[in-house]
């Protein structure tokens, strides 16, 4: 969900950039030297995960997995996802430059919220319970991201309102898929590496 340059009004772009800078600063503060490699490798993993196409009916969707990023990274999801968006814009022409801030905010803020709310729930109980909470977290993050994208469009002008609504409803299947995949990913992680979620966010 990359908004392009020129679509949003100036206050939205500037507000988004300021908020994203704040989030990135928070994230960098939470990263000490020992956690930089983990955050960096995870950031690369989420970049690669966004290349995975999952079939849905006759079409397919690509994964965003920002909920999972928030669960594993906490506030560090902000700089990690920002780096991914920057690389996508510069080397693949995806997204835009002045909208980097608002795009980061729309993807990373739901990630951080999902991490804050769900990471503790995922660590407790049986792996299946953890997986269900993981699924809820994954769905929440995508729903919030879509909602924020729609909201930033709607804030920029009433003319975007119909498109914004449609974007939100068109993404409901994506939310379901992200929820299922995040759930299974958490299930596997809980079984294979149980200590992963116990100490909370890795970085």
């Amino acid at each position: 969900m990359h908004i392009v340059d020129g679509a949003l009004s100036n206050p939205v772009v500037i507000g988004g950039a300021v908020a994203a800078a704040g989030g990135i600063a928070m994230g960098l503060r939470s990263l000490d030297l020992d956690r930089i490699p983990t955050a960096g490798v995870l950031s690369a993993s989420f970049f690669v995960a966004s290349l995975i196409h999952v079939p849905i009916g006759p079409s397919s969707v690509h994964l965003i997995l920002n909920g999972m990023a928030g669960l594993l990274l906490g506030w560090a999801a902000f700089p990690a996802l920002f780096v991914g968006l920057l690389l996508q814009a510069v080397f693949f022409g995806f997204g835009g430059l002045t909208v980097l801030g608002i795009n980061t905010l729309n993807i990373a803020l739901p990630a951080v919220l999902a991490g804050l709310v769900f990471s503790r729930l995922i660590a407790h109980g049986s792996p299946l319970q953890g997986a269900i909470w993981g699924g809820v977290g994954g769905a929440f993050a995508i729903a919030a991201t879509t909602g924020m994208v729609a909201f930033s469009l709607a804030l920029s002008g009433d003319a975007f309102l119909p498109a914004a609504k449609l974007v939100f409803f068109a993404h409901i299947p994506v939310m379901a898929i992200e929820a299922i995949l995040t759930g299974f990913a958490v299930l596997l992680a809980r079984k294979v590496k149980p200590e992963l979620f116990v100490k909370g966010a890795v970085a």
């Binding site: 908004i3 993993s45 290349l51 594993l72 080397f91 022409g93 498109a163 299974f184 299930l187």
Partner: protein, 259 residues
């Protein structure tokens, strides 16, 4: 975003690293700064003449860079499905003078021109970004951002991401190949979603274990968090000529927009 990359195309390895063309010898720092200046000026412009001129500037930068035309323009035009959708919807959602009616829905000229305006801005900015910054080696981008006083930890994170994207992508392809060998064929069913979920989970677990090994290796070599930069950047006359030229064009765009 995978549709941007072909099946066999490397993610970042082949990106950047342009060896010839007029853009390559320029200082990376200057290229980043000028790309930002150009983007801000273009986004601020609103008249169609100014935006067409901005796109013309981007196209001439592309010509100077000697990047392959077709591939670059294809990437430039690539947008999220929903943004395209929004552009198509704009004439119908914006009130104004009627242009035509489709199934009883009136389309307006105002909405149409707004959509054209957004498309021109988006393409002009992303093309200039790809030509000016995307032609660098990814690692050079990290060094240049560091020299431009980006937070050191953010640059570290960027460098790690650049380094490991290709490694992890190869791991992903290995896992996919293993699934294929066992007869996995993706479809819309529970089995597919469970397999993809496990795939993602496995990739993340392996990534974290890999990062632990990386940290150990770095500590073993006395990593203290300081950036050691192998490249020294120096501004030359060429860079100032380039900056002055592009700066003048940006000023011209502003004047064109106000006129």
């Amino acid at each position: 975003m995978a549709h941007v990359l072909g099946q066999h195309e490397n993610t970042l390895v082949k990106a950047g690293a342009q060896r010839h063309g007029a853009i390559n010898p320029l200082d990376p720092r200057m290229r980043i700064v000028m790309a930002v200046v150009f983007a801000v000026v273009t986004v601020a412009a609103s008249s169609l003449t100014a935006l067409c001129a901005a796109l013309a500037v981007s196209l001439s930068l592309l010509a100077a860079s000697r990047l392959p035309w077709r591939k670059t323009l294809k990437r430039m035009a690539m947008m999220d499905g929903f943004i395209l959708f929004m552009l198509v919807l704009l004439p119908f959602s914006m009130p104004g003078d009627p242009m035509f009616t489709l199934w009883g829905f009136p389309a307006s000229w105002q909405g149409f021109w707004k959509a054209v305006e957004i498309a021109l801005t988006a393409n002009a900015v992303i093309l200039s970004l790809m030509v000016l910054v995307g032609t660098m080696e990814p690692v050079t981008l990290g060094h240049a951002l560091h020299r431009l006083r980006c937070p050191e930890k953010l640059v570290h994170l960027l460098m790690f991401t650049i380094r490991y994207i290709e490694v992890l992508r190869e791991e992903y392809l290995r896992l996919r190949a293993a699934m294929k060998v066992r007869g996995f064929r993706p479809a819309t069913n529970w089995h597919t979603y469970r397999s993809f979920g496990y795939l993602v989970g496995m990739m993340l677990v392996r990534a974290i274990e890999r990062s632990e090994r990386i940290l150990d290796a770095m500590k073993c070599r006395g990593f203290s968090g300081r950036m050691l930069l192998l490249q020294d950047f120096a501004l030359t006359r060429k860079d100032f000529v380039f900056a002055a030229g592009l700066g003048a064009l940006c000023a011209g765009l502003i004047i064109l927009d106000l006129a």
